[in-house]
């Protein structure tokens, strides 16, 4: 069922420390699942209401139109919506799926989970030190996500973490990260305001090597993907990092706000071109937005969602589970 942190992280030869719960208790897992579903269905106009099994009781053109409407309202986007609906429609018409309300809905969940699970892979932190780089548009929750990842790595897996405050542009970004570093018990490496972000990343990796730290997480300034000079800067930070450690950054994550519409596809595509993005962190899923853009990103670009943010607390950053996500979108 729900994906655990352990499944989501590839820690290589590092054995999880005793303090890490070997397996989450079923009680808590249910809690998380419930929480995700609650957060996804918080809206009065939840998708779940619109796509109940009864929608498929009578199957005609209107059924498919309503399904299309629901998916588009969830920000899945026209092309992916059309693909999903066409596939389901075809399967029902050909008799591969019985024209029965529950069966059709279950098949819909399967298809959505399949799309959401495209190119699934764990977060690669096997190297020592492993370098994780966080990128994304302004205000999508990069710094907060880093704080929470650091907390999980440090408190649950007993890893030593160095945070690189390479967002030297936004006022007080380093202070924000510092607060998180304290909470997580991680070390913070920062530069002067306006300093070269590459040099901050460089210093952080040096510091991590000197201290034998396990993971370096590099925070970068939020930037719009249309600012080509800033995207070039991002490539440069990457180059600085890979000069120090050839395969690094080992993992690059882009944070995407769940409220983002179709522009999210452009964000993922262009950030990927500049910084070879390995996965998406879908943040702010605790609102009424369904984050359907993640489906479009997975289907179109083959970039999987790896983590989701469903609330403000530390536990609210969760490994992404395609099946849970599909169910939460549609469950009763």
């Amino acid at each position: 069922m729900a994906t655990t942190w352990q499944e989501m992280l590839d820690l290589g030869d590092r054995a999880p420390v005793a303090s890490a719960p070997a397996e989450e208790e079923p009680e808590r897992r249910r809690g998380v699942f419930r929480r995700l579903r609650e957060s996804l269905s918080a809206s009065r106009k939840a998708l779940t209401e619109e796509i109940s099994a009864s929608l498929f009781d009578r199957i005609d053109d209107e059924t498919w139109e309503l399904l299309e409407e629901a998916l588009i309202l969830a920000d899945v986007g026209a092309p992916t919506t059309a693909a999903v609906v066409e596939r389901l429609e075809h399967e029902v018409e050909s008799g591969a799926v019985p024209a029965d309300g529950v069966a059709v809905r279950d098949r819909l969940i399967e298809i959505l989970a399949e799309v959401a699970g495209t190119a699934r892979a764990p977060i690669d932190l096997a190297a020592e030190p492993a370098v994780l780089m966080m990128v994304g548009v302004n205000g999508t929750g990069k710094t907060t996500t880093i704080g929470k990842i650091a907390w999980h790595l440090s408190k649950e897996f007993g890893l030593s973490v160095v945070l690189a405050a390479a967002d030297t542009y936004r006022a007080a970004a380093a202070e924000q990260l510092e607060t998180w570093a304290e909470r997580a018990g991680a070390e913070l490496v920062r530069g002067q305001a306006g300093a070269d972000p590459g040099s901050v990343a460089y210093d952080a990796i040096n510091a991590a090597r000197a201290r034998g730290a396990d993971v370096v997480i590099v925070d970068t300034a939020g930037r719009l993907h249309t600012q080509s000079d800033l995207m070039e800067e991002l490539s440069k930070v990457r180059r600085v990092i890979s000069k120090q450690i050839p395969d690094a950054p080992h993992e690059t994550l882009i944070s995407i706000d769940a409220t983002t519409g179709q522009n999210g596809l452009r964000q993922a595509k262009i950030f990927s071109e500049a910084a070879e993005v390995d996965g998406v962190v879908l943040t702010k899923l605790d609102g009424t937005a369904k984050g359907g853009i993640a489906l479009a990103i997975a289907a179109d670009l083959g970039i999987p969602v790896k983590l989701i943010g469903v609330g403000e607390t530390l536990e609210d950053l969760r490994p992404f589970d395609p099946d849970d996500y599909a169910r939460a979108l549609l469950a009763e």
């Binding site: 809206s43 205000g139 006022a171 702010k284 609102g287």
Partner: protein, 455 residues
Amino acid sequence: MFDQLSDRLQSTLSEVRSRGKLSESDVDAAMREIRLALLEADVNFKVVKSFTRTLKERCLGADVLQSLDPGQQVVKIVNEELAELMGGTGEELAMATSGPTVILMSGLQGSGKTTACAKLAQYFRKQNKDVALAACDVYRPAAVEQLVTMGGRAGAHVYEQGTEADPVDIATWALDRAREERRDVLIIDTAGRLHIDQELMAELARIRKKTDPDDVLLVVDAMTGQDAVGVAESFAEAAEFDGVVMTKLDGDARGGAALSVKAVTGKPILFASTGEKIEDFDRFHPDRMAQRILGMGDVLSLIEKAESQVDEKAAEDLQEKLKKDQFTLEDFLTQMKQVRKMGPLSGILGMLPGMGAMKQLKNANIDERELDRTEAIILSMTPAERADPHIIKGSRRKRIANGSGTKVQQVNALVKQFDQMRVLMRSMANGKMPSPEQMMAMQQGAMPKPKIRRR
């Protein structure tokens, strides 16, 4: 900004236009395209439905189908309806008749409230108003520091009590202080909150009640998807906002959220935030924006922008110099700085009509560093050299290259291009339009060569 949407509409309608006669199935086809384009632009599904319905009715009207150029008529109707949807002509902020004008900012996390506060402060500072900011975001780590730094940059006073105090108390305390200190404007920054977080929404309502603001603004990220409408409805209920600030409009988000929020709540979009810099903030002009979507250009905004930056007198002097062929590198430097004050060149290009249709220019990437380099070269010249670049020979060239961190070839190229440009400008100043060959030469030799990258 709305590039893709504009492209879609243009390509659909230019097909119709080329045919000259419009059938009902033509209209249906065009409507399908428009509907898809609007959905891709994140315009809310329900808004799209009613918009295309209205549009179709008008397009099928007898006067359109029988007109000589139905395609053109459709363009006109789409333009009118889009402008109508976004709020007709621009609306104004309400200002207090006495005492400070109080503006309460609200929005989701990450929509850009704190930055918008500082930009709004700067906007008022430009009108010589005394502005104060109240730091009521006590939740996000370092939000207060961010407001202090950015507010300081804008030249505003920042009232803060750290993160221990209650936001409602900070707001009322700040209002008292703004009254005492006779500030013209008080802008209250609040924490980002989810529209379904009842506790925080109630807090926002309390701040509103206690401070009785003249304007409550909702800050909306231009990249927001279908959810924008739900968010706006909830904020309308709790905070009764009066207008919207659209942020991150400098990206390539098609900004359908802007269309939807206005359509659903009836609240106008008052401001648009269009860049990283504190001055990248403008009044939102819905009518002009609609024209821009259709690729008609936003010439009015460009002229206003130029007017606010360019000194009349200096412009006249320049005209005179051009005529008399006294234009020097020094003047060129001044010119370049003035143009750059208007913001990134790519932004300026976007306001020109027809730019949306020119594919290469749409993705043109004017490398600002190239401009920096040109500036550096000129700055490394002596006044005599700037006045008469012809004296720049061997050792001078080397010195300039060294001083500006460039190569001798780059200095040479600059001098040569300047020469060509001067010839051209002289003929233009004397009322002669340059020949296409001359234009080509100027383009190739234009000092900062625009780097065109295709994505």
